[in-house]
Structure formats: C-alpha cells, structure tokens
Symmetry: C3
Subunit: 343 residues, 3 copies
C-alpha cells in the first residue's frame, strides 16, 4: 500500500526518534494569514518596528503559529490513529521564528504504556522543531492515546516519563537581546505592566468569535495538519467536522489580548487540555487567571504564568470544572503557559 496508514501503538519503540516530513519555509504570507484567522494584536508580532524597539531583528511569526507548524508535521506519524490527545508538558520556545526560516520537526518516544483493555496505549513523545540551521526553536512533550493495530501484539514494558508540572522560571528561554526597558505601552495597546497583575487575578477577555467551517479548515491546512476528522464531513457519524484543538488555542490566545495585551511572548507551555470538542457555529470566548509571576534576567522583562481558558456560548463566568473535577461542558480548552511582559 502506498498511502500512510499511520502508526499503531505497537509500532512505537522507546527511545526511537521519528523524523517528520515536509519542512516548511515561512514568509509574510503565514503571518498575514495568522492575523486574518485570529484577532491577534500583539504589537511585537504585528510590527517589525515595535519588535526592533524590543531588541529583536524583526517581528517573529506568532509563537503559536510556530507551534502549529511543528505540531502539524507530527500528525502523520504520531496521531493519525490517535483516540485522544491527552496532554502537553515541558513546552519551551527556544528561539523566535522569522519570515524566511524553514522549520522541520522530529519526535523522540519517551514513554509507552498499554491500556488495561489491551486495545490501545499511551505514547509520550518529546517533539522538537528545528530551523534551517539545525537550531531547536521549540520543544514540547505530548502524549496521545493510540489504537493498537494488532491486538495480539505484546504490551511493552510500561514507561511513564517523569515530567515537570510547571517549567521552572529559571528554565524559561529568553530571546537574545530582548529588552523591554523602552517598551511603548501606548503602541502595545494597554497600560498594564507586569507589576499590575496579581497572582490569583482573573480576567474576562470579553470578546467572542463565532467560528465557521472555512476558517478552521484554512488554518488547519496552513499548518499541514492532515487529521481527517477536521476536513471530511463524511468521516464522523454525526457529519460534523471536529475543529483542530490548536485553532482554539490560537483563538483563545488572540482574544486574551483584551486584558493581556502586554503578555507579549509565550515562552513555555506547562500544560494543556482540550476539555471538550468545538464545532462550527460555536462562539468562543476566553478568560485567564494569573497563576504565578517571576523575574527574568532580561532588562525590563518579567515572566507571568497564565491559565487561559476557552469557553463557548452558555459558559458561566470563570467556571471551569464540575464538583467531581470534570471540565464543564462549555469549557473547550485549559491552557497553562508562561509569557513575557514588560515590568
């Protein structure tokens, strides 16, 4: 057979590194499309001039665009037969990605655990995105539940990696040259600086966006994500196309501008849960909570740890989970990350 059947659980080997296909050169085209797909307004990603005033050579591609591009490459090898995308950890954006850069990706299997039903198992991979110079621009751990192809295949020795719950502030990658001492809060869009946010503070980002089929498919294709369930209305029994979880991540992040305009750069992903599926016609809103704060070594730059939650129509303010600990049905995404903010 010439087509890619995807890998089944029993085909992964602990320690192996999978080189993912289809490197991608990014340009101003990807940047413009990102801004058309999401209400993204981070000044550092919108303006070369603003980025230069912050010590960078130009405005990078949005951090989450880099994430989606790397993630998309992994889909044919990691999650084509996935039952569920279970979690993320230890994500770090090591280098900004600029127009002209070419990204490729590779993943190392760092954990395997067959489920007790013998029909599937959990695969843990550490994925790295690399640029044309071979530099790691992004790395993260993801674990997915993958079907077994051969139910008689023996279960591997279970190995569950020891993952940090939160990337330590000392381990946050700070872009070389980043300097927020001359940061222009007016051009950035909000006056609130790092010192104005308190741990525990919650922010309702107010705005909402109703999602259309064409939009999430354009986005998901742009990242060369090949999962059938996003594109083919004949694939699910209910005839609905499941929206790529990354589309919700980007939508929530962009909506969070209103209240977090100065949380400019995402540098670490601590955890993420796609709590419930999202479909065309849903209206996405977002709220955030400040989980932690830390200084950094860069001039004028503080780190802020945020939980950003995407919800859909009908959600109660700041409501996240049921009494039993399950996510409420209106919650779409629960994302825990570190961003950099001017002091």
């Amino acid at each position: 057979m010439k087509t890619n059947p995807g890998r089944f659980f029993e085909e992964y080997r602990l320690g192996e590194t999978i080189v993912h296909a289809v490197p991608r050169t990014v340009s101003g085209g990807e940047r413009a499309l990102y801004h058309a797909l999401y209400p993204a307004r981070g000044a550092l990603y919108s303006s070369d001039e603003f980025a230069r005033d912050c010590g960078l050579s130009a405005a990078p591609i949005d951090d989450l665009a880099a994430f989606h591009l790397v993630f998309g490459k992994t889909v044919p090898d990691i999650s084509l037969n996935a039952v569920a995308n279970l979690g993320y950890a230890e994500g770090r954006w090591h280098l900004p990605v600029f127009a002209g850069d070419t990204l490729r990706a590779e993943s190392t299997v760092i954990g395997l655990k067959e489920n007790s039903n013998g029909k599937s198992g959990v695969v843990y991979v550490r994925t790295r995105g690399l640029n044309q110079r071979g530099e790691v621009v992004l790395s993260y751990v993801r674990w997915v539940m993958v079907r077994k192809g051969d139910l008689n295949a023996p279960a591997p020795e279970p190995v569950v990696p020891d993952l940090v719950q939160v990337v330590a502030a000392a381990d946050l990658p700070i872009p070389a040259g980043l300097d927020f001492t001359g940061y222009d809060f007016t051009l950035a869009g909000e006056a609130h600086r790092w010192g104005d946010y308190a741990v525990g503070e919650q922010i309702d980002h107010v705005d909402g966006v109703t999602i259309e089929e064409a939009e999430h498919m354009l986005a998901t294709r742009l990242w060369q994500n090949t999962a059938k369930v996003h594109f083919d209305a004949t694939f699910r029994e209910d005839g609905r196309r499941l929206i790529y979880g990354g589309h919700i991540i980007s939508m929530a992040r962009a909506l969070s501008f209103n209240g977090l305009a100065n949380a400019q750069m995402i540098v670490a992903l601590n955890a993420g849960a796609h709590a419930n599926p999202c479909f065309s016609g849903d209206t996405v809103k977002a709220w955030s909570e400040v989980l932690d704060k830390a200084p950094t070594a860069a001039p004028g730059v503080g780190a802020i740890r945020l939980r950003t939650v995407a919800v859909k129509q009908g959600a109660a303010p700041f409501a996240l989970k049921e009494a039993g600990g399950k996510y409420l049905p209106e919650v779409l995404l629960d994302l825990d990350y570190w961003a950099l903010m001017p002091l």
Copy 2:
C-alpha cells in the same frame, strides 16, 4: 478592570490627539489576501512591473487595504461604543504603502456635539496613518455617534468642524514620479481613458458577489478591527453578524474594475455613507457615476471623481434614494472619491 471598555462620549476632549495601538508591518501576505478577499484587478496594484512602468518603485498595497489598516487601529479608541458611523470627509492618500512598510495611526478630536437626547453625542476625528518614517500616508475625517457612559456628564461646548464637501482637485495628492504616458491599456484590461468618461455618465459594473461569514471575518480581522458586532453571533438579538462597512467598500471598488479598470489609484475620499447593513448571504453589486473630472500636474494623469454605489440583490438599476431623500433599502454604500486615470 484590565479590558478596554472603549471611550464614551464625555471622555473625548476637543483638540486631544489619541495615539492608536498595534502598528502593523505589511507584506506580500496582506496583498495576496486582499486579492483573495476581493475581486481586485487593478494592474498597478497587482504587478510590480506594471507599477514600475507607471513610475512607482513597486506595486503598492491596495489603497483601501491601507485605509482599512489605519481605520482598524482606530476602532478600540473611537468606535467601540459607537452607535453609528456617520460619515467621512477630506480623505487623502498622501503616499503609497509598500510591502515592508509599518503603519500606525493617530486621531485628533476636531469636533464634539452632544445629541439633544443627552444620551449620546457626535465625535469628529481627523485620523492620520503614518509609516515607519513618520510620514503621513493617509488622512481622513470621520464622525461617529458615541454613547455617553455617564448620562450626568455635562455637555461640551458644541463644535462642528467646517469640512469641505469635496477635496479640491488642486489638493489631490499625486504620488511622486507617477507617469501614465507609457500606460499599457491592454495589460490594464480596458481601453477607456480619462477622455472617454463624461461627467454624469453612469456605469453598471454588472458582476455580483455573494458574501460568506468566513470571508468578512477574515477581512475584518486582517485589519485588526475589533468591533464585536462583526464576529460574535451572540451579540445581536437577531443572531446575525454585521459585516464591516469597509468590506463593502472594498467589494464595490473591486467590482468597479469592470468599467473603471483604469481608475487606478484612489487619492481622495470626499464622502461615504454606509446606507444599510449587509449580512452574510447578500449578493453585492455595484454601479458608479462620474461626478467630476480634473487634470493633474503629473504626466498623462487625469483625476476622475466617482460615486460608487454598492447594492444588494433586488436593487433597481442606478436607484439610490427614495423620494424623501432616504437611501433605498437595497443600497449598502454610497462612496464619493477621486481616482487617477491615464489621459
């Protein structure tokens, strides 16, 4: 509160200048998207070679894309609490915008007049779009009706600016170096030159485009316009998303290619009315009328003043207003502008 509540009428001060946030660097990406969103075919904006043959350094970003980018930046400060966008005047495109340019915007309050009901007032602003060199690329006056936040706030001294009805031909900005003496009418798409148009002539642009939700949202986000009413289907009681008026401006202008292919550059906006709202599913058509003509100092370049009217399905040919002076319900837009055309 960390989120932007927008300004209310009583918060504007006559003479103050508001610096708008989120500068934007444009690239070939914005140009390509503009051509995907609208049936734009102006050769000078489509081809670097054609633009060079007309004396420019490269094809600029479409004039209306520059307008939308500047306009979008003003929304969070000017029209977030607007009841209605009442009018435009004295618009001038001072310089073409090229890929690589970074645009920012600022607005000066030039008029204030509280409504007799005491619940809202009209704010007049002169907005300037500036490039990375601080040069004004675009300026225009806009007036909007804005709600009062505090109904007890005292009414300001009413000041209504004295605006010209039509930008005088002598005041039209002509791009440095523009020369239409070697203009290639074949490559431009039509043979009709400046001398072929008569004042009073009406042109039915024939073509129609049915608008989809995804398209107008992609466009409106691309210009970083944050008005909720365009994106959130839960915002209006009828569950419909109002299409950004600028989307209709660009659609009408692009449709006008068929009959006005050589009206290459928009250099002035005399007036504009968003006569009726437009919603997804409407089919937009356009017609134009030649309002005036004038020579310019540039070689081979004439100026033509046009009214371009966007209508939706069901409109009668060239019908604009009811006997009482009110726009007919099928009329979406009435735009009065100057364009440059080869002699």
Copy 3:
C-alpha cells in the same frame, strides 16, 4: 458600454494572439494561501531548503498555482461567454515560478469550428504564461464552447488543430539544475520511489475534504478568475455557485500526496476533463492510476504519467465511466499529467 461583454464565437480570428490583462507579481502570500486552501504537502514547494537540495534556487510557487494564475487571466477574453470548458492538451511547465516573479498571459487562436446548431462554436487557444523576463513559464492548449453573439454571423472555415494525445517523454521540460540524487525521502514524506510504481497501478488517496463556499471563492478570486458563475448566488436558477474546476484540480492533486508524495513537480498536462460540476458541501476524494513511466536526462529524476481522478461522496472505488463511456455522476475530474519523481 464600458464593461466587458466578453467575446462571442464570431469575434475570434484564426491565428490572432490575444494579450490578456492584469499581470500579477507573486509572493510568499500566494504560497501561504495555496497551502491554506489545499492540503498541499509537496516538500519541494513547501521548503526552500528542500528545493535547494534538489538543485533549485528556492521553493517555487506550486505548479498548479502558476496554472491558475495564467488561466485566470484568460477568462475575460476566452471563457466569459463559454458554455463549457471542453478540454486541455499539450500543457507544459517550462520554468518554475518563484516569489517575486510577475506573470502575464497571452493566447493564440489555433482552431475554430462552429457547431451544427449555428448557436455556438468551439474555440481552440494555445495559452502562454510569461514571466517578467518574457520567458514562457507555462503553455497549454484549451478548447471551449463559446456562444455566438450574432446568430447571423457566417461560420468560419472549420479548423481543428492536430493535438498530441500525450506529451512525449522527450518533450517534457526539466527544470535546469534539477537533481534528485540526494533526495531526502524521509523529509519528503514517503519512501516510494519511481521504481516502486508500476504502470497500471491504482492508488486510493484515502483522504477527503468537504468544500465550503468561502474557500472556493477565495481561491478563485486569488487567481483573478472573473467568471460570474463562481461568485454570484443569484446567477444560476438553482441559486448554487459552481466551483471553479481548477479548485478541484488543486484539491485532487493535494490529496494525491498520500500515495504520491514524491511525484514532486508537474511538468506536462496531457488531458483534463471536468466531468461533473462540484458544489459547496461536496466531499472531494481522489484516486490515481499510473499510465506510463519514462526516464529523463536529469540526475536521479524519472517521469511518471498519472491519471488523477477527483470524485465526490458516494463514489465507488476506482470507478470512472458508465458502460456507455460517460463519466459516472460522482466523478468530478479526470486529469492526465506527467510528474517528476526521484528514481
């Protein structure tokens, strides 16, 4: 009348060359949009680095994007009054198109034959796409059935050009410098090389994409194709917008990545039939058949002749025509082309 009525059958003259309007400079924006509109994953078109490793200067714009851009320019002159697009032949991609290139197009009338009903006729044109250096980047023959405007116009002397059924392997244009000896099959996404494909082999490309109105309109506008029937829901009696046939060509080609990832460059189009119309909501799938194989003079490069068939929901595997020779109603496209593949 200032608007373009299109040409009618009696207005074409054998041997005349029509210069088409609106040249277009392409950028990374067109490339990014192509990747958002289609699930295109050809590594040579996605990555500048991969393209350089294959001997090119950078990743070209997708071959079919170049085709659509050239085709779009011909629509106002060739097919505005077309009843049907009947066929393609002798298509050759002479040169890759890169970001920064400006494309224009011209067509020579090489055949004319009035239909026996006296109401229409078939026009055969050889179209050339040229870059800013006047080099032919693409040429192909297309024939369309065009209405007569004046039914009393005399029928021209019938001339039907003698077209080759298949571009001979010796006539395939091979890009200068192309070298697949160091081809990276892992980064390309599949291990199957030229030697792994057998003439007669059929491949079901498995994946499907459900098409939305916004997507095909964005695409068709991007190519500046002005045919009303794609955009205006009030144009057809059934209120449906016909999807541009080229959208299906690109969709099928992109879907064929899964099984033909190494069929990197399209260099010749032998034939193409838009078998049935496609509408929004249809789910497009594709299958291919290997029709022929040939060596080339370029190092490591083989040529493979493929039939790629686009079908919609309900199609039986590899079913093409009814017993009578008519295409089955689920078949949308039957495309016969040569591609280049690593040995």
